[in-house]
Protein backbone atom coordinates (compact mmCIF):
# COMPACT_ATOMS: atom_id res chain seq x y z
CA UNK A 1 0.00 0.00 0.00
CA UNK A 2 1.38 3.40 -0.86
CA UNK A 3 2.19 5.84 1.91
CA UNK A 4 -0.68 8.19 1.11
CA UNK A 5 -3.22 5.37 0.84
CA UNK A 6 -2.04 4.15 4.24
CA UNK A 7 -2.44 7.63 5.70
CA UNK A 8 -5.93 7.94 4.24
CA UNK A 9 -6.95 4.55 5.64
CA UNK A 10 -5.58 5.46 9.08
CA UNK A 11 -7.42 8.78 9.16
CA UNK A 12 -10.71 7.15 8.21
CA UNK A 13 -10.22 4.40 10.80
CA UNK A 14 -9.46 6.95 13.49
CA UNK A 15 -12.52 9.04 12.70
CA UNK A 16 -15.00 6.17 12.68
CA UNK A 17 -13.72 4.53 15.86
CA UNK A 18 -14.17 5.49 19.50
CA UNK A 19 -13.20 9.11 20.06
CA UNK A 20 -13.35 9.95 16.37
CA UNK A 21 -15.70 12.67 15.19
CA UNK A 22 -17.32 11.14 12.13
CA UNK A 23 -20.84 10.68 13.51
CA UNK A 24 -20.66 13.71 15.79
CA UNK A 25 -20.82 16.22 12.96
CA UNK A 26 -23.83 14.72 11.25
CA UNK A 27 -25.73 14.31 14.54
CA UNK A 28 -25.05 17.95 15.40
CA UNK A 29 -26.26 18.92 11.92
CA UNK A 30 -29.45 16.93 12.53
CA UNK A 31 -30.09 18.64 15.88
CA UNK A 32 -29.44 22.17 14.65
CA UNK A 33 -31.70 21.76 11.62
CA UNK A 34 -34.42 20.08 13.66
CA UNK A 35 -34.46 22.85 16.25
CA UNK A 36 -34.95 25.65 13.71
CA UNK A 37 -38.60 24.89 12.78
CA UNK A 38 -39.51 25.05 16.49
CA UNK A 39 -38.05 28.55 16.72
CA UNK A 40 -39.49 29.81 13.43
CA UNK A 41 -42.98 28.48 14.06
CA UNK A 42 -45.48 26.69 11.84
CA UNK A 43 -45.23 29.04 8.85
CA UNK A 44 -44.33 26.61 6.05
CA UNK A 45 -43.62 29.29 3.43
CA UNK A 46 -41.21 31.10 5.74
CA UNK A 47 -39.48 27.77 6.50
CA UNK A 48 -39.08 27.02 2.81
CA UNK A 49 -37.56 30.47 2.24
CA UNK A 50 -35.14 30.04 5.15
CA UNK A 51 -34.43 26.38 4.41
CA UNK A 52 -31.22 26.66 2.37
CA UNK A 53 -29.75 29.17 4.82
CA UNK A 54 -30.56 26.92 7.79
CA UNK A 55 -28.98 23.92 6.11
CA UNK A 56 -25.89 25.88 5.19
CA UNK A 57 -25.38 27.33 8.66
CA UNK A 58 -25.92 23.88 10.15
CA UNK A 59 -23.35 22.40 7.78
CA UNK A 60 -20.88 25.19 8.55
CA UNK A 61 -21.12 24.69 12.31
CA UNK A 62 -21.01 20.90 12.00
CA UNK A 63 -17.85 21.14 9.88
CA UNK A 64 -16.19 23.29 12.53
CA UNK A 65 -16.85 20.73 15.26
CA UNK A 66 -14.15 18.19 14.56
CA UNK A 67 -11.64 20.47 12.91
CA UNK A 68 -9.65 21.51 15.98
CA UNK A 69 -8.43 17.93 16.42
CA UNK A 70 -7.32 17.61 12.79
CA UNK A 71 -3.65 18.24 13.57
CA UNK A 72 -3.73 18.69 17.32
CA UNK A 73 -4.27 15.00 18.05
CA UNK A 74 -1.16 14.17 16.01
CA UNK A 75 0.79 17.00 17.59
CA UNK A 76 0.00 15.87 21.13
CA UNK A 77 0.96 12.23 20.74
CA UNK A 78 4.09 12.94 18.70
CA UNK A 79 2.79 11.51 15.42
CA UNK A 80 3.14 14.87 13.70
CA UNK A 81 6.92 14.87 14.28
CA UNK A 82 7.14 11.45 12.70
CA UNK A 83 4.95 12.43 9.76
CA UNK A 84 7.45 15.20 9.03
CA UNK A 85 10.45 12.84 8.90
CA UNK A 86 9.86 11.66 5.35
CA UNK A 87 10.36 12.97 1.86
CA UNK A 88 6.60 12.98 1.30
CA UNK A 89 5.67 16.64 0.82
CA UNK A 90 3.85 17.98 3.86
CA UNK A 91 1.33 19.64 1.53
CA UNK A 92 0.38 16.18 0.28
CA UNK A 93 0.02 14.85 3.83
CA UNK A 94 -2.24 17.82 4.63
CA UNK A 95 -4.32 17.25 1.51
CA UNK A 96 -4.83 13.58 2.35
CA UNK A 97 -5.77 14.39 5.94
CA UNK A 98 -8.27 17.00 4.71
CA UNK A 99 -9.73 14.58 2.18
CA UNK A 100 -10.21 11.95 4.87
CA UNK A 101 -11.67 14.56 7.20
CA UNK A 102 -14.13 15.61 4.52
CA UNK A 103 -15.10 12.04 3.67
CA UNK A 104 -15.69 11.30 7.36
CA UNK A 105 -17.48 14.52 8.36
CA UNK A 106 -18.41 16.54 5.25
CA UNK A 107 -19.81 13.81 3.02
CA UNK A 108 -22.31 12.56 5.67
CA UNK A 109 -23.68 16.11 5.87
CA UNK A 110 -24.23 16.15 2.11
CA UNK A 111 -25.96 12.77 2.29
CA UNK A 112 -28.16 13.85 5.21
CA UNK A 113 -29.14 17.14 3.57
CA UNK A 114 -31.93 15.75 1.31
CA UNK A 115 -33.63 14.10 4.27
CA UNK A 116 -33.37 17.19 6.45
CA UNK A 117 -34.63 19.36 3.59
CA UNK A 118 -37.99 17.61 3.97
CA UNK A 119 -38.22 18.98 7.53
CA UNK A 120 -37.85 22.45 6.08
CA UNK A 121 -40.55 22.15 3.41
CA UNK A 122 -38.15 22.52 0.46
CA UNK A 123 -39.46 21.55 -2.95
CA UNK A 124 -37.63 18.76 -4.86
CA UNK A 125 -35.66 21.09 -7.13
CA UNK A 126 -34.56 23.10 -4.06
CA UNK A 127 -33.48 19.90 -2.31
CA UNK A 128 -31.34 18.96 -5.29
CA UNK A 129 -29.83 22.45 -5.42
CA UNK A 130 -28.95 22.59 -1.70
CA UNK A 131 -27.41 19.12 -1.86
CA UNK A 132 -25.35 20.07 -4.93
CA UNK A 133 -24.09 23.30 -3.34
CA UNK A 134 -23.19 21.46 -0.14
CA UNK A 135 -21.35 18.83 -2.19
CA UNK A 136 -19.08 21.39 -3.86
CA UNK A 137 -18.97 23.87 -0.96
CA UNK A 138 -18.13 21.70 2.08
CA UNK A 139 -14.66 20.73 0.78
CA UNK A 140 -13.79 24.44 0.79
CA UNK A 141 -15.01 24.70 4.40
CA UNK A 142 -12.77 21.78 5.42
CA UNK A 143 -9.76 23.22 3.60
CA UNK A 144 -10.17 26.71 5.11
CA UNK A 145 -10.66 25.08 8.49
CA UNK A 146 -7.47 23.12 7.97
CA UNK A 147 -5.48 26.35 7.78
CA UNK A 148 -7.04 27.49 11.06
CA UNK A 149 -6.41 24.10 12.66
CA UNK A 150 -2.75 24.23 11.58
CA UNK A 151 -2.35 27.75 12.97
CA UNK A 152 -3.81 26.80 16.35
CA UNK A 153 -2.17 23.37 16.53
CA UNK A 154 -0.04 24.08 19.59
CA UNK A 155 -2.69 25.99 21.52
CA UNK A 156 -4.67 24.27 24.24
CA UNK A 157 -8.35 24.92 23.67
CA UNK A 158 -7.54 26.27 20.25
CA UNK A 159 -10.99 25.29 19.02
CA UNK A 160 -12.60 28.60 19.94
CA UNK A 161 -9.82 30.65 18.39
CA UNK A 162 -10.10 28.42 15.34
CA UNK A 163 -13.78 29.32 14.94
CA UNK A 164 -13.08 33.02 15.35
CA UNK A 165 -10.27 32.84 12.81
CA UNK A 166 -12.03 30.98 10.06
CA UNK A 167 -15.72 31.91 10.31
CA UNK A 168 -15.16 35.28 8.59
CA UNK A 169 -13.31 33.51 5.79
CA UNK A 170 -16.23 31.20 5.17
CA UNK A 171 -18.68 34.03 4.49
CA UNK A 172 -18.19 34.01 0.69
CA UNK A 173 -18.91 30.27 0.61
CA UNK A 174 -22.05 30.82 2.66
CA UNK A 175 -23.22 33.66 0.40
CA UNK A 176 -22.74 31.81 -2.88
CA UNK A 177 -23.96 28.50 -1.50
CA UNK A 178 -27.22 29.95 -0.24
CA UNK A 179 -27.81 32.23 -3.22
CA UNK A 180 -27.32 29.34 -5.65
CA UNK A 181 -29.81 27.22 -3.68
CA UNK A 182 -32.35 30.06 -3.63
CA UNK A 183 -31.66 30.80 -7.29
CA UNK A 184 -32.75 27.29 -8.21
CA UNK A 185 -36.26 27.83 -6.87
CA UNK A 186 -36.81 31.60 -7.29
CA UNK A 187 -37.30 32.68 -10.86
CA UNK A 188 -35.25 35.73 -11.77
CA UNK A 189 -32.27 34.74 -9.61
CA UNK A 190 -29.74 32.51 -11.42
CA UNK A 191 -28.50 29.15 -10.10
CA UNK A 192 -25.45 28.61 -12.27
CA UNK A 193 -23.55 31.87 -11.66
CA UNK A 194 -23.22 31.56 -7.86
CA UNK A 195 -22.80 27.79 -8.23
CA UNK A 196 -19.81 28.21 -10.54
CA UNK A 197 -18.27 30.79 -8.24
CA UNK A 198 -18.71 28.31 -5.38
CA UNK A 199 -16.91 25.66 -7.44
CA UNK A 200 -14.15 28.17 -8.16
CA UNK A 201 -13.71 28.93 -4.46
CA UNK A 202 -13.44 25.22 -3.69
CA UNK A 203 -10.83 24.70 -6.41
CA UNK A 204 -8.86 27.72 -5.22
CA UNK A 205 -8.90 26.45 -1.64
CA UNK A 206 -7.71 23.08 -2.91
CA UNK A 207 -4.45 24.87 -3.78
CA UNK A 208 -4.22 27.48 -1.01
CA UNK A 209 -5.41 25.24 1.83
CA UNK A 210 -2.66 22.60 1.76
CA UNK A 211 0.12 25.13 1.10
CA UNK A 212 -0.97 27.47 3.90
CA UNK A 213 -1.64 24.62 6.34
CA UNK A 214 1.76 23.04 5.67
CA UNK A 215 3.51 26.39 6.17
CA UNK A 216 1.66 26.90 9.47
CA UNK A 217 2.53 23.39 10.66
CA UNK A 218 6.22 23.88 9.86
CA UNK A 219 6.26 27.12 11.84
CA UNK A 220 4.50 25.49 14.77
CA UNK A 221 7.14 22.77 14.89
CA UNK A 222 9.89 25.22 15.85
Amino acid sequence: MSAMAALFKREIQLSVRVGGGALMGVLFFLIVVTVFPFAVGPDLNLLARLGPAILWIGALLATLLGLDRLYQADQEDGSLDLLLLTDHPLEMVVLIKCTAQWVATGLPLVLAAPLLSLFLNLEPIGIAAVTATLLVGTPALTLIGSVGAALTVILRRGGLLLSILILPLTIPILIFGVSASIGAVTDPAPFTTPFYILCAISLLMLIIGPIASAAALRTAQE
Binding site: M1, S2, A3, A5, A6, L7, K9, R10, Q13, L14, R17, V18, G19, G20, E76, D77, G78, S79, D81, L82, L83, L84, L85, T86, D87, H88, Q221, E222
Partner: protein, 222 residues
Protein backbone atom coordinates in the same frame (compact mmCIF):
# COMPACT_ATOMS: atom_id res chain seq x y z
CA UNK B 1 28.21 5.54 6.48
CA UNK B 2 29.22 8.35 8.78
CA UNK B 3 27.29 11.07 10.57
CA UNK B 4 29.22 14.34 10.51
CA UNK B 5 28.01 17.24 12.60
CA UNK B 6 29.94 20.48 12.44
CA UNK B 7 29.41 23.62 14.50
CA UNK B 8 25.74 22.92 15.13
CA UNK B 9 23.95 25.76 16.92
CA UNK B 10 20.33 26.26 17.72
CA UNK B 11 18.33 29.04 19.33
CA UNK B 12 14.92 28.37 20.88
CA UNK B 13 12.74 31.02 22.45
CA UNK B 14 15.50 33.60 21.97
CA UNK B 15 17.89 31.55 24.10
CA UNK B 16 20.78 29.54 22.72
CA UNK B 17 20.31 25.90 23.65
CA UNK B 18 23.04 24.40 21.52
CA UNK B 19 26.27 26.04 20.57
CA UNK B 20 28.94 24.78 18.29
CA UNK B 21 28.31 21.07 18.77
CA UNK B 22 30.76 19.09 16.68
CA UNK B 23 31.13 15.35 16.42
CA UNK B 24 31.67 12.53 13.97
CA UNK B 25 29.96 9.19 14.36
CA UNK B 26 31.23 6.18 12.44
CA UNK B 27 29.20 3.34 11.02
CA UNK B 28 28.21 0.78 13.59
CA UNK B 29 28.82 3.10 16.52
CA UNK B 30 26.53 4.62 19.10
CA UNK B 31 26.89 8.07 20.61
CA UNK B 32 25.54 8.63 24.10
CA UNK B 33 24.65 12.22 24.90
CA UNK B 34 24.72 13.06 28.58
CA UNK B 35 24.31 16.20 30.60
CA UNK B 36 22.04 17.75 33.25
CA UNK B 37 18.34 18.38 32.62
CA UNK B 38 17.55 21.29 30.36
CA UNK B 39 21.00 21.38 28.83
CA UNK B 40 19.68 20.66 25.34
CA UNK B 41 19.92 16.89 24.87
CA UNK B 42 16.43 16.68 23.43
CA UNK B 43 17.04 19.81 21.38
CA UNK B 44 20.17 18.22 19.93
CA UNK B 45 18.22 15.14 18.87
CA UNK B 46 15.38 17.23 17.45
CA UNK B 47 17.88 19.36 15.56
CA UNK B 48 19.56 16.25 14.16
CA UNK B 49 16.13 15.04 13.03
CA UNK B 50 15.48 18.40 11.38
CA UNK B 51 12.42 19.05 13.54
CA UNK B 52 14.11 22.13 14.99
CA UNK B 53 15.79 24.55 12.65
CA UNK B 54 19.56 24.80 13.14
CA UNK B 55 20.81 28.38 13.16
CA UNK B 56 24.32 27.42 12.17
CA UNK B 57 26.35 24.37 11.34
CA UNK B 58 26.09 21.45 8.97
CA UNK B 59 24.66 17.95 9.25
CA UNK B 60 25.61 15.24 6.81
CA UNK B 61 25.13 11.53 6.63
CA UNK B 62 28.06 10.50 4.46
CA UNK B 63 27.29 7.40 2.42
CA UNK B 64 23.54 7.83 2.89
CA UNK B 65 20.92 8.75 0.32
CA UNK B 66 21.96 12.05 -1.24
CA UNK B 67 18.36 12.99 -2.00
CA UNK B 68 17.28 12.85 1.62
CA UNK B 69 18.29 14.93 4.60
CA UNK B 70 19.47 13.38 7.83
CA UNK B 71 16.03 13.39 9.48
CA UNK B 72 14.49 11.54 6.55
CA UNK B 73 16.95 8.71 7.09
CA UNK B 74 16.42 8.60 10.83
CA UNK B 75 14.01 6.98 13.25
CA UNK B 76 13.12 9.50 15.94
CA UNK B 77 12.11 7.91 19.22
CA UNK B 78 11.11 10.76 21.49
CA UNK B 79 9.16 11.24 24.70
CA UNK B 80 5.82 11.00 22.91
CA UNK B 81 4.84 7.50 21.88
CA UNK B 82 2.95 8.40 18.67
CA UNK B 83 0.41 5.69 19.40
CA UNK B 84 -3.23 5.93 18.40
CA UNK B 85 -5.27 4.30 21.18
CA UNK B 86 -8.20 3.54 18.86
CA UNK B 87 -6.07 1.41 16.53
CA UNK B 88 -4.82 -2.07 17.30
CA UNK B 89 -1.12 -2.66 17.83
CA UNK B 90 -0.81 -4.15 14.37
CA UNK B 91 -2.67 -1.27 12.71
CA UNK B 92 -0.42 1.23 14.49
CA UNK B 93 2.69 -0.50 13.16
CA UNK B 94 1.32 -1.26 9.70
CA UNK B 95 0.64 2.42 9.17
CA UNK B 96 4.19 3.51 9.93
CA UNK B 97 5.57 0.68 7.85
CA UNK B 98 3.55 1.72 4.79
CA UNK B 99 4.19 5.40 5.39
CA UNK B 100 7.96 5.09 5.84
CA UNK B 101 8.58 2.31 3.33
CA UNK B 102 11.62 0.00 3.33
CA UNK B 103 9.94 -2.72 5.39
CA UNK B 104 12.19 -5.12 7.27
CA UNK B 105 10.00 -7.16 9.61
CA UNK B 106 6.28 -7.76 9.66
CA UNK B 107 4.27 -6.13 12.44
CA UNK B 108 3.92 -9.50 14.17
CA UNK B 109 7.67 -10.18 14.12
CA UNK B 110 8.44 -6.71 15.44
CA UNK B 111 5.87 -7.07 18.22
CA UNK B 112 7.30 -10.46 19.16
CA UNK B 113 10.74 -8.85 19.45
CA UNK B 114 9.40 -6.58 22.18
CA UNK B 115 7.28 -9.31 23.80
CA UNK B 116 3.93 -7.95 22.62
CA UNK B 117 3.37 -10.70 20.08
CA UNK B 118 0.22 -12.03 21.74
CA UNK B 119 -1.48 -8.62 21.86
CA UNK B 120 -1.33 -7.89 18.11
CA UNK B 121 -5.04 -7.27 17.60
CA UNK B 122 -5.80 -5.49 20.85
CA UNK B 123 -6.55 -1.76 20.75
CA UNK B 124 -3.51 0.17 21.95
CA UNK B 125 -5.72 1.98 24.48
CA UNK B 126 -5.41 -0.97 26.87
CA UNK B 127 -1.62 -0.92 27.07
CA UNK B 128 0.32 0.09 30.18
CA UNK B 129 2.94 2.83 30.04
CA UNK B 130 5.78 0.36 29.60
CA UNK B 131 3.91 -1.59 26.94
CA UNK B 132 3.16 1.62 25.05
CA UNK B 133 6.85 2.41 25.14
CA UNK B 134 7.66 -1.04 23.75
CA UNK B 135 5.05 -0.70 21.02
CA UNK B 136 6.58 2.63 20.11
CA UNK B 137 10.00 1.00 20.06
CA UNK B 138 8.81 -1.74 17.71
CA UNK B 139 8.14 1.02 15.17
CA UNK B 140 11.91 1.23 14.72
CA UNK B 141 11.98 -2.45 13.82
CA UNK B 142 9.36 -2.57 11.06
CA UNK B 143 11.21 -0.36 8.60
CA UNK B 144 14.84 0.24 7.96
CA UNK B 145 16.44 3.61 8.60
CA UNK B 146 20.18 3.76 9.20
CA UNK B 147 20.19 6.36 11.99
CA UNK B 148 18.30 5.96 15.26
CA UNK B 149 17.75 9.06 17.38
CA UNK B 150 16.68 7.92 20.83
CA UNK B 151 15.55 10.36 23.49
CA UNK B 152 15.55 8.70 26.94
CA UNK B 153 14.71 5.33 25.36
CA UNK B 154 14.70 3.48 28.66
CA UNK B 155 12.10 5.62 30.45
CA UNK B 156 9.15 3.53 31.71
CA UNK B 157 10.92 0.28 30.74
CA UNK B 158 11.56 -2.46 33.29
CA UNK B 159 14.97 -4.13 33.64
CA UNK B 160 14.13 -6.96 31.24
CA UNK B 161 12.87 -4.60 28.55
CA UNK B 162 15.87 -2.37 29.05
CA UNK B 163 18.13 -5.33 28.41
CA UNK B 164 16.06 -6.23 25.34
CA UNK B 165 16.49 -2.65 24.09
CA UNK B 166 20.25 -2.98 24.48
CA UNK B 167 20.19 -6.16 22.40
CA UNK B 168 18.09 -4.51 19.68
CA UNK B 169 20.43 -1.53 19.62
CA UNK B 170 23.46 -3.82 19.40
CA UNK B 171 21.82 -5.67 16.48
CA UNK B 172 21.15 -2.39 14.71
CA UNK B 173 24.79 -1.38 15.12
CA UNK B 174 26.00 -4.75 13.90
CA UNK B 175 23.97 -4.29 10.73
CA UNK B 176 25.89 -1.06 10.16
CA UNK B 177 23.45 1.37 11.72
CA UNK B 178 24.17 4.45 13.78
CA UNK B 179 22.60 5.48 17.07
CA UNK B 180 22.52 8.79 18.88
CA UNK B 181 20.93 8.36 22.29
CA UNK B 182 20.29 10.72 25.17
CA UNK B 183 20.27 8.38 28.11
CA UNK B 184 21.68 7.70 31.55
CA UNK B 185 21.36 3.95 31.20
CA UNK B 186 24.68 2.06 31.14
CA UNK B 187 24.16 0.44 27.70
CA UNK B 188 26.90 -2.01 28.56
CA UNK B 189 26.78 -3.97 25.30
CA UNK B 190 27.60 -1.15 23.01
CA UNK B 191 30.86 0.51 24.01
CA UNK B 192 29.51 3.88 22.88
CA UNK B 193 31.21 7.16 22.11
CA UNK B 194 30.25 9.85 24.56
CA UNK B 195 29.25 13.48 24.21
CA UNK B 196 28.78 15.47 27.39
CA UNK B 197 26.86 18.70 27.14
CA UNK B 198 28.13 20.90 29.95
CA UNK B 199 26.64 23.81 31.80
CA UNK B 200 29.40 26.19 30.67
CA UNK B 201 28.18 25.74 27.15
CA UNK B 202 25.19 27.97 27.52
CA UNK B 203 26.12 29.86 30.66
CA UNK B 204 27.03 33.09 28.88
CA UNK B 205 26.60 33.04 25.16
CA UNK B 206 28.21 36.46 24.76
CA UNK B 207 31.60 35.68 26.24
CA UNK B 208 33.18 33.32 23.86
CA UNK B 209 31.40 31.77 20.95
CA UNK B 210 34.39 30.25 19.28
CA UNK B 211 35.46 27.58 21.73
CA UNK B 212 34.37 24.14 20.80
CA UNK B 213 32.52 23.23 23.91
CA UNK B 214 31.59 19.68 23.30
CA UNK B 215 34.32 17.16 23.72
CA UNK B 216 35.16 15.37 20.55
CA UNK B 217 34.47 11.66 20.76
CA UNK B 218 37.60 9.79 19.96
CA UNK B 219 37.66 8.38 16.45
CA UNK B 220 37.26 4.69 16.91
CA UNK B 221 39.43 2.41 14.86
CA UNK B 222 36.95 -0.11 13.61
Amino acid sequence: MQLIVKGLSCIRGGRPVLENVTFTLDQGKALVVTGPNGIGKSSLLRTLAGLVHANAGTLTLKGGDEELNVGQQAHYFGHADAIKPALSLKENLDFWQSFYGQPTRTAYEALSEVDLGDLTDMPAAYLSAGQRRRLSLSRLLVCHRPLWLLDEPTSALDAASEHKLEILMAEHLKEGGLIVAATHAPLGLLDPDRLHLGREQIADPFVDETTALSDQPQESDR
